[in-house]
């Protein structure tokens, strides 16, 4: 059978394979609204904690927990309902990119918050988390694009 397959047909089959795998990988993108939702929830929660008022902390915590669960649940549900890309498509580079993004975001947030607190400025953690939130909203979609690029490079039949 191998000898009967014309090169043009083989090329078309490879193109179809690439297109189908790309379809799955594109579906895995975390939507932009998710980064905004998490950013707003983080700022709201931190601000509530920094008011040091029991009621505000209680409401802030409840809204944060429910909000994160709802937003994350929606993204995960969408993925489970369709198709979840293979974990190994990310590769070590993708995993390091995610860990690096989280580490930089948390690090910048703390680097902003601690000096502000030492200077006696009010709501230092909220300011720090706001900076981290901006990084999430701007950097999140970039991270997704990078991860999708990694997955596309690691799929079957890609030229490595």
């Amino acid at each position: 059978m191998n000898d009967q397959v014309r090169p043009e047909e083989a090329a078309r089959a490879l193109a179809e394979i690439g297109q189908r795998q790309e379809q799955v990988i594109r579906l895995s993108a975390i939507p932009t609204w998710y980064w905004w939702a998490i950013a707003v929830l983080m700022i709201g929660f931190t601000a509530a904690v920094e008011t040091r008022r029991g009621l505000a902390i209680g409401i802030g915590t409840a809204v944060f927990v429910v909000g994160v669960l709802a937003a994350t649940g929606r993204v995960v549900f969408r993925s489970v309902r369709s198709a979840q890309p293979r974990n190994d498509l990310l590769g070590p580079g993708g995993v390091f990119a995610i860990l690096g993004f989280v580490a930089v975001t948390v690090g910048v947030s703390m680097a902003v918050a601690f000096p502000l607190e030492a200077s006696g400025i009010s709501y230092p953690a909220t300011v720090g988390v706001s900076v981290a939130a901006v990084m999430l909203v701007i950097g999140g979609p970039f991270l997704m694009r990078y991860l999708q690029g990694r997955m596309l490079a690691n799929r079957s039949g890609s030229r490595r």
Partner: protein, 105 residues
Amino acid sequence: MIKPKFDELIHAPTRLSLVSLLAATEWADFQFLRDSAGLSDSALSKQLTTLEEAGYIEIRKGFVGKRPRTSARLNIVGRAAFDQHVAALQEIVAKAGVSVFPTTP
């Protein structure tokens, strides 16, 4: 290094689409496969059964609430066969040169 091996079962157009989708996923939902490949429920069931009988895929049936949910995934045998098939296709194309790649519109 993957040894190229042309697989007639995978090469059939509909199954090639399905296996390509499955090759990029952990588990793929029946509905997703049906809509992506543009098949009817019965046509997809038939193709999945063929792949399952060949020992290439695993089918999981469960419930989400009261709704039945069917998912499929490529197992190790299926993944190896797919990788070998892709390698065989690449070999055919490589022998003919890059001129055979379809041009983008």
